[in-house]
Amino acid sequence: MDYTPHTEADIQAMLAEIGVARVADLFAHLPEDVRLGRGLDIAPGLSEPDLRARLAALASRNRAELLSFVGAGAYAHFVPSAVDALASRSEFATAYTPYQPEVSQGTLQAIFEFQTITSILLGTELANASMYDGASAAAEAVLMALRLKAARGRDDRGGKVVVARSLHPNVRQTIATYLSSMDGVRLVEAGYDPGGRVQLDDAAAGNGDSAGEVACVVVGYPNFFGVVEDLRAVSAWAQAHGALLVTVTLEPLALGWLTPPGALGADIAVGEGQGLGLAPSFGGPGVGLFGTRESFLRAMPGRVVGETVDADGKRGFCLTLSTREQHIRREKATSNICTNHSLCALAFTVCVSLLGPNGLRDLARLNVRKLRYAAAQLAGAGLGERFSGPTFNECVLRGADVPARWERLVRRGIVAGLPLGRWYPELEDAVLVCVTDQHRRADIDRLATEWRSAGTA
């Protein structure tokens, strides 16, 4: 492929205008000793037909056709055809961040709509223009909680961050990475109870610990086990400890069934939007959701779009409050984030617009019911629910010989959930099974049958 438009005549005319003889002369000011002096060791380019053949062959080596029951932070739901048709329109896809609002009203109005939808679903007073993904949004939320705590002047940037062990392990690890260079901050893990919910007690707060007070407590909603945390209790605990409550919702469709975290006391509610409008795509891109209180606005990371008027008094939208951001505040910014996940936010917005409140509720309920049916069928295959708490579309099942049976199922073309031993040694015999609207009843029946027969094989 060659996307440059230059003909030989163009090049000659342009060089003449510039006043040099060869293109190489344009690099003449580079010191001799920094020149590469050879061609790149990358294969010659391909024509479009050959390129398409190569990519199609590569893609076919991913086993997209398998029957899969893996969720764990990436969810395959029904996405109306209109979502990609609209979000992929080239005027959206090939624009930059809307620095010139007069010629970016399309992107800007869409982001304003995204901010509104996100704050409705999270139950927060406001939301930003998007973050990279659920985990990095969670990490940024924790940093923000620490900043807010410091601003309240209780102790410098230090403090404890209590993270539920029932939170997605990848999110916990990401938070740990983001916090690891911060002086005086300590991560404390809170266990889970037989319901699969976070167990918050005095030990969780690490009382008597030198790291000082608790800045925030972070829980999944639903959590990694698919269990719906009782945010009322978590929020009460957080308040009692002077801490902020950060919730992480990696399955956005659950918000069609659950009370929004903001309405149950979450001070910062973050999430992953991929499940509404985007394919799993090997883990990205999705879109980080980030909502919080109005009073925390100036501490919030990321871009925001605001409403204003133009010279004629007509409504318009523009990026605003950028005095929080890196390009203005540099080292004092609330975050280093610059490019975010705007186009994914658009897909999310289109998807929610198509579903509407009723579609969202119905689709969510369909997921709940599919999981219930599956759990009943799998019980017949010797897999029992590990936790008693209410679940959305994922639950932890345990049974005899689970890892070996799971391996056998993979060989038969079924990815029968995610074995948990790698992250939870105590759940070595358990598997996290996700059932969604994409599974027909026959798929679930087949899953149950195969688990059963894999046990006897």
């Binding site: 609209l86 080239s90 605001g306 010279a311 009843r441």
Partner: protein
């Protein structure tokens, strides 16, 4: 031009675009026992629209954007080159879209092979030894890179305290450094727009962990002292971080890794043509020298005799920075682009980007004031100095350009240039387009002398006129809210939804 109301101002209660699959379950499947307080979703206010309404809404909105697909977009530092359609096709292959990040590796060999090969190509282009594709964007790449710098120094016993950053750097550089617990020390930029080894050396002490250099820098100039700076930095045990957002100017010509870089990030959404999406998603791979490889974030793509695997077996790793392995969809696009261009094509891309920038610079020099006399690479920076007597500012020139169907350059950046206009044409624009842009600037400069008011009130042909950005910040309205009384809300919604003509 007619208005398009917000999603929330349209529609009607109970309307819905989507029909869902019939529930094929036995009716006796019970919903789980859940505390009623936890199962009260707040869906009120969400749009209730037909499919046509949604289609029309977003189709109309889309037309209000300038974009590469419709306009020349010479936004400096952003490398707004053509985003090939075949890349979009590749990213949408079912085999790419449906693969789940938590599947066993053997089910995703195509995706892992793609990532592995992309890492190798980026290593070759940058002259580095190992690559992580995980970071979501340039800024996260910087975070990962500086974090590795820190891990390296910590491993050596002392994390050190500061990072040296030139005044011309992008704002993400200091912000990312601070996020890793460093303090930033600014290195002044010389009169020639370049960083000088003496200025670096003057600030180099045992506390410096790294120096962050953008090369070519944000003035579009190649940092000629780069090798000497690197030597000086290395001599003090510090590391060299290269911000490779401007790699489009270097590919096939010089490699940061051969000239002293220890760690560098590349913006695939700039140099390697993944569409910017109106603000992402991007991808900011980080390339490192062998010494830093042990600190790369997890997971890593590794090749074994059993095929490709994602490995977390990296005891010195800085850890995980995202939920999953990266913006795979963007990696597919960049991979398709690099494979399509090939080694020669990648070098040609750089040559022609630089050719276009120099041509534009040459033709604009008689019209605007160039910020630096030094030879430029892929972009050039002008100022509004020559217009001072007219009262016309960079902002006005930028806004007036919109009337001609051209996106504005990056303005007021880099901060070291007052009234900067940073122009990056990229290699995919034709000479005719560059000439048309020059003609527009020529006309604007003439207008500045003849009728400065025309410029100060520009743009005139866009969907909205100049926006009151101060008001947006002073009285932030960041989301739609239902009007106080529902009756009123319905009425005002209907009013806004009535198209109104401007005559």
């Amino acid at each position: 031009m007619y208005d398009e109301p917000l999603l929330f101002e349209s529609g009607s209660p109970g309307r819905r675009a989507v029909s869902l699959p019939g529930d094929d379950l036995p009716p006796d499947v019970a919903l789980p026992a859940i505390e009623p307080e936890l199962a009260q979703p707040a869906l009120e206010g969400l749009p209730e629209l037909s499919e046509l309404e949604v289609v029309r809404h977003f189709t109309r909105l889309s037309q209000w954007n300038f974009s590469i697909a419709s306009n020349f977009y010479p936004l400096g530092s952003c490398t707004m080159k053509y985003n090939p359609i075949v890349n979009e096709w590749a990213a949408r292959l079912a085999g790419h879209q449906s693969v789940h990040p938590m599947w066993p590796d053997q089910l995703a060999q195509g995706a892992l092979a793609l990532m592995f090969e992309l890492e190798q190509m980026l290593a070759e282009v940058s002259g580095m030894d190992a690559v992580t594709l995980t970071p979501a964007a340039g800024a996260q790449g910087e975070f990962v890179g500086i974090k590795m710098v820190r891990a390296y120094h910590e491993h050596g016993g002392n994390p050190r305290k500061t990072v040296l950053i030139p005044a011309s750097a992008h704002g993400t550089n200091p912000a990312s450094s601070v996020l890793c617990g460093y303090r930033c020390v600014e290195v002044p930029v010389g009169r020639d727009g370049l960083m000088h080894v003496a200025d670096v050396e003057a600030r180099l002490d045992g506390d410096v962990a790294a120096v962050m250099v953008t090369n070519p820098n944000t003035l579009g100039l190649f940092e000629r002292d780069i090798r000497r700076i690197a030597d000086a930095v290395h001599a003090r045990g510090a590391l060299v971080y290269i911000d490779g957002a401007n790699m489009n100017a270097l590919c096939g010509v010089t490699r940061p890794g051969d000239v002293g870089a220890d760690v560098l990030h590349i913006n695939l959404h700039k140099t390697f043509s993944t569409p910017h999406g109106g603000g992402g998603p991007g991808a900011g791979p980080v390339c490192v020298k062998k010494t830093l490889a042990p600190f790369l974030p997890v997971p890593r793509v590794v090749r074994t005799s059993n095929g490709f695997q994602l490995s977390e077996d990296a005891p010195l790793s800085i850890g995980r920075v995202r939920t999953f392995h990266g913006n795979f969809g963007m990696l597919v696009r960049a991979y398709t682009y690099m494979l399509g261009l090939g080694g020669d094509g990648i070098a040609r891309m750089t040559e022609r980007a630089v050719l276009n920038a120099n041509y534009l610079r040459k033709k604009l020099e008689p019209l605007l004031t160039i910020a630096q006399r030094e030879p430029c690479l892929h972009e050039c920076v002008f100022t509004d100095q020559g217009l001072a007597d007219t009262g016309v500012k960079t902002m006005d020139v930028a806004k007036r350009l919109l009337d001609f169907g051209f996106h504005a350059p990056t303005i007021y950046f880099p901060l070291v240039v007052s009234g900067a206009m940073m122009i990056e044409p990229t290699e995919t624009e034709s000479r005719e387009t560059l000439d048309a842009f020059v003609a527009a600037i020529e006309r604007i400069v003439a207008e500045a002398r003849k009728d400065p008011e025309l410029l100060k009130t520009a743009p005139h042909t866009t969907r909205v006129r100049r926006l009151d950005e101060t008001r947006a910040a002073r009285r932030p309205v960041l989301r739609w809210r239902p009007a106080a009384a529902p009756a009123e809300a319905a009425a005002s919604g209907a009013e806004t939804s009535t198209s109104s003509a401007e005559t």
